[in-house]
């Protein structure tokens, strides 16, 4: 093999690698991306059953049911619309009624959302309510503390 041929081969190999990487990325950004909706957006649009999506909202008050130690259902809401959700497994520690949550899963054929993953927001700023009020009074309350 001449030196020149070897270099051509190397450049060709590089191009093949880059091309296959680009194809992989293009293919996977179509396949492995899940869209994020709020409950009212879901009511407005048609979402196919069994398509994996994420829904973000609050756990509706008085909607949480414990069917067994690992089976739960609850409603997730954004004040305008709410979605009925079932979940099998272990809920995150920060999950409770009235708190923000993001769930991942898909609608079954009966319009029930089967969550496979439930996420609750971890945050550095959680505060006992009494101190929160005190801070609000002194004007030290920053708007980003929920």
């Amino acid at each position: 093999m001449s030196l020149r041929f070897q270099r051509l081969l190397l450049i060709f190999l590089t191009l093949v690698i880059i091309l296959s990487a680009v194809l992989l990325i293009l293919y996977n950004t179509r396949e492995h991306v899940s869209y994020f909706y709020t409950p009212s957006e879901i009511k407005k649009s048609d979402i196919l059953a069994n398509k994996i999506i994420r829904i973000g909202g609050f756990v509706e008050n008085n909607s949480f049911n414990k069917i067994s130690s690992s089976k739960f259902n609850f409603r997730i809401t954004d004040e305008k619309a709410s979605i009925f959700v079932t979940f099998n497994g272990i809920l995150p520690d920060l999950f409770r009624e009235g708190q923000g949550t993001v769930i991942e899963g898909a609608f079954g054929n009966n319009n029930v959302f089967n969550a496979t993953n439930v996420f609750a927001k971890h945050d550095e700023n959680y505060m006992p309510a009494s101190i929160k009020d005190g801070l609000k009074d002194t004007g030290y309350w920053k708007k980003n503390y929920k």
Partner: protein, 620 residues
């Protein structure tokens, strides 16, 4: 008082750096006086950091930052590590580590004085940028306007020994790239000989070793604390730590070419700038709250914009110098089809593509939101099915790459390796026939064992084994690659062959895990210093005398009214038995058991890689 000391020393340190920067062009320093100023500013920054730590240790709630993130009944270790368990404190830690790197660099002997000065001047500019950022947007020394007796407490998730080690070591990796950046820029300006390449090599190895340790500690922490049974989730924060890590790996490999005297200087400078840019970019993404993850501290738009500005200044300046000050033309590359140069070039191409792929996946949600106003999330499957295939050719190559020669096109005893490869393929194929065949499992095990075996064969057949330091240094690249191979085996087994079992059990029930009898003894609640603990007590393998106790449960922190999960993990050399206690109804508890085979191999692989990183620092 400590706040005042901390703040004034922080300001003074920045002032000294300003003075250094301005005076460079006004009057020339003596070396002694220059170094004195640099060291003084470093020590002042450290003083500032330690006065914040002091405020945390004595629970000085007149400091607003301490009030927000601490509580007097925390154990001492969390008072100390709580210093950086919040945004403001962690930025001060960042600046302190930057100072430490400058301090150590000012003590480096045997390098060109002007080059050293210039590097430190660039460090001083970085110090000013980040120092101003702290003072204007994230000052940890604000005075609390209301008089309080007690603080709000540290987030319980952070109340873990992991907080004491993971952030400082990770930051040492991130910030270590600042010195590599400064060295590269100074090298461009001075445009002298190749000396700076050796200096850059040493420091980039140190940073890379720290970064490796920091990332691994973070994964290990996530593994036992989050209670999800995994150790890597392709969370945005994990991704942005992985990007400088891979780019840094590319940098370390290109710097190897210095030894072959075929360094592509331009490319090395590019990588050095890239590594530090990615580190700063990562900080921007996390701190701005643009990407939400387990690590996001409170989002504050002004901080985000400020860090974005710093990012553009650093990256813009870096690449501008890079474009204007072209390095002197170095000798052309000795490309052959299979020699070390082309192996390293392919390695670099793959790593840069992998970095870009991760970057794209991480910021893709932002792009889509801006363009289409739709919110999406890119999860693990995307990264698994792009990054891993891209890296596969590299994994195939790395087993034999260290024995390739610089000049010629031949591999010594190439037949041997072909035999080893065929033999291994058969073996793994037979193994996968007995277990369920899984493509990823097959590829992962084959690659992992191929790297381990071929590297071992290469060591045994290419070098004479002697118990000398020189020998340890010579075989070091092979050892590093064996570490990677071991980690690949661990990663493959623990993710592909993970086994999940679910049980609904009452106290006193027996159940079967992996053919071993487990008894669920009882639920117990105890009161600890600052939390209440609820533990399910399990006895694993009760038929033998050496039964193991596993405790899984939850902690309740009354100060913050928060619950954290505490997984119970039984570590064995070939598998981890991972217990998670779920919810209960009518005294029936939900228990999830994960069997993670060969997780220990991941940590072993990482330790070997870090060891090799350190050994490589010692090699000229």
């Amino acid at each position: 008082m400590s706040s005042l000391v901390g703040f004034s020393s922080l300001v003074l340190a920045i002032g000294i750096n300003f003075y250094l920067l301005l005076s460079r062009y006004i009057f020339k320093f003596q070396k002694q006086r220059f170094n004195f100023s640099i060291r003084l500013s470093s020590l002042l920054t450290l003083l500032s950091f330690f006065s914040l730590m002091y405020a945390y240790v004595v629970s000085d709630f007149s400091n607003y930052n301490v009030f927000q993130n601490s509580h007097s009944n925390k154990p001492l270790i969390y008072k100390i590590s709580g210093t950086w368990g919040n945004h403001e404190g962690s930025m001060l830690l960042w600046l302190s580590i930057l100072s430490i790197f400058s301090l150590f660099f000012s003590f480096t002997k045997n390098i060109d004085v002007n080059f050293q000065k210039l590097t430190l001047i660039i460090q001083a500019s970085l110090h000013i940028l980040f120092g101003l950022f702290i003072i204007f947007t994230s000052n940890p020394f604000l005075v609390n306007s209301i008089l309080v007796e007690e603080g709000l407490g540290l987030n319980p998730i952070l109340q873990d020994p992991g907080l004491a080690v993971h952030p400082p070591i990770l930051y040492a990796g991130y910030v270590g790239y600042s010195i590599v950046f400064s060295i590269a820029i100074a090298g461009l300006f001075q445009n002298s000989d190749n000396e700076w390449l050796y200096v850059a090599k040493k420091w980039s190895l140190i940073s890379w070793t720290f970064l490796t340790g920091g990332i691994a500690l973070g994964s290990y922490w996530a593994y036992y604390e989050l209670g999800w049974g995994g150790w890597w989730f392709w969370d945005p924060v994990e991704n942005i730590s992985l990007m400088p890590w891979i780019a840094g790996l590319a940098l370390v490999h290109s710097l190897m070419m210095v030894r072959g005297e075929q360094a592509i200087k331009k490319w090395i400078v590019f990588l050095s700038i890239l590594c530090f840019s990615l580190s700063v970019f990562g900080t921007f993404l996390v701190r701005s709250g643009i990407l939400t993850s387990v690590h996001s501290f409170a989002a504050d738009a002004s901080r985000g914009i400020f860090i974005l500005l710093i990012f553009f200044i650093i990256t813009g300046f870096g690449f501008l110098v890079f474009l204007l000050k072209e390095p002197k033309k170095s000798n052309s590359l000795n490309f052959l089809f299979i020699n070390k140069v082309s192996a390293i070039v392919i390695n670099n191409i793959l790593m840069i593509i992998a970095t870009l792929t991760i970057l794209l996946g991480t910021i893709y949600p932002i792009i889509i939101e801006v363009l289409y106003n739709k919110r999406i999330s890119v999860g693990g499957p995307y990264f698994n099915s792009t990054v891993i295939p891209i890296m596969i050719p590299g994994f195939l190559l790395m087993s034999i790459a260290p024995i390739l020669s610089w000049q010629t096109n031949k591999i010594k005893g190439s037949k041997k390796y072909v035999f080893v490869f065929i033999f291994l393929s058969m073996l793994v194929l037979i193994q996968s026939y007995f277990l369920d065949f899984n493509t990823w499992g097959f590829i992962g095990l084959l690659l992992g064992f191929w790297i381990i075996l071929a590297s071992t064969v290469a060591i045994l057949s290419s070098y004479k084994i002697r118990p000398t330091i020189n020998f340890i240094q010579i075989i070091n690249p092979h050892i590093a690659h064996i570490g990677v191979g071991i980690a690949i085996v661990g990663i493959t087994c623990s993710s592909v062959f993970q086994n999940e079992l679910n049980f609904n059990v009452n106290e006193g029930d027996e159940f079967n895990v992996n053919g071993k009898k487990v008894i669920f003894e009882k639920i117990e609640t105890t009161n600890e210093i600052n939390f209440q603990a609820l533990r399910g007590k399990f006895l694993y393998d009760i038929e033998k005398n050496k039964s193991k106790r596993i405790e899984a449960g939850k902690n309740y922190y009354p100060v913050s009214k928060m619950i954290t999960s505490e997984a119970g993990i039984l570590h064995q050399w070939n598998r981890d038995i991972y217990f998670i206690l779920g919810d209960q109804k009518n005294n029936e508890w939900f228990v999830k058991v994960l069997i993670n085979p060969f997780v220990s191999f991941i940590w072993l692989g990482v330790v070997i890689m870090m060891y090799s990183g350190l050994i490589a620092v010692t090699r000229k």
